[in-house]
Symmetry: C2
Subunit: 204 residues, 2 copies
Amino acid sequence: MKLYVQDIESMDKRYRTNFVNSLPGFKSANLIGTISHSGIPNLAIFSSVIHVGASPALMGMLFRPVSVPRHTYQNIKHNGLFTINHISDYMYKRAHLTAARYPDDISEFEAVGLTPEYSDSFDAPYVREASVKIGLKLVEEQEIHSNKTIFAIGQIEEVILPDNIILEDGVIDLQKVRTITISSLNSYHKTELIERLPYAKPEI
Amino acid sequence: MKLYVQDIESMDKRYRTNFVNSLPGFKSANLIGTISHSGIPNLAIFSSVIHVGASPALMGMLFRPVSVPRHTYQNIKHNGLFTINHISDYMYKRAHLTAARYPDDISEFEAVGLTPEYSDSFDAPYVREASVKIGLKLVEEQEIHSNKTIFAIGQIEEVILPDNIILEDGVIDLQKVRTITISSLNSYHKTELIERLPYAKPEI
């Protein structure tokens, strides 16, 4: 079947949101940890985290328009720091609940049953239950004029992860740490390795 | 174990690239189709495609710095159109080969054994073998000053997909169409649904 732009625009709002969110394919599943100016740790699920560069080591993610106040974005603007924590199959239900709107004075960590953990060297909360944890400082923001979202760039300051999960070529064994993936907004999937391929060279 | 920024910077280049590319978790797996000013169809694998907005329907992706000429980016700049095509388990090997550098006058479609397919209503090549195909027009670019990459935004013009794969709430059944996911740069994974969760509401 073929859908044109007017077919998509005429969809019911929730249906359209689910449909368009399915179009990129499988998405990364992360919890972003921040701390408010009054010291309340905040946690929010994001499926838009992508690789931006390896040297310097940069990651990017998309924030919704700031016209409606968002705790995660406000907190990052306040102290410049945030953590990215992989969502695993043993805590995706708790991770999913962080998408609900909680009042300012409630920590999502407490509300959903996850544990804030602080590194000596970094002033934003990690998720104790996460296997791969990344501490970043905000280095850049670009407003997307088309819909007022914000593409934010963080530079990696530290990475905390289990021993023996980095393969000999530097790849992290994401299945071993039970990292999962998201489709659309609410479907959680585990993965099974098909194959690791060698670096691609022209066959001609 | 804990790695600091200086540990990452001191890694061997290929090892660091593999490591940092693993940090976002699982990534979307897509082929981007374009056509050159001389009519040669181009195809390139991307793992950075993300959802940007549902209304208008927007998708974003990251391009490497343009200091080295890149066919995909040049072609999109030329006619303003590109296609996003899901990578499935039956053609990931061919998709992976598009990452190799081919000369200007060679179409990656031909080099790797995939078939360009044109819609009457859209002037950029789709991948016939892909199950989910999206036609987009370039609407915005933001240069990431931190490393000169470019975050580009496309507005969805049309979507071509099999009948009966959209669930009743608008979600596309990505497993049914055999869309796969990528970790780091060269690991291909199929997925298994754990659970679809309801919209998250505060429990307090």
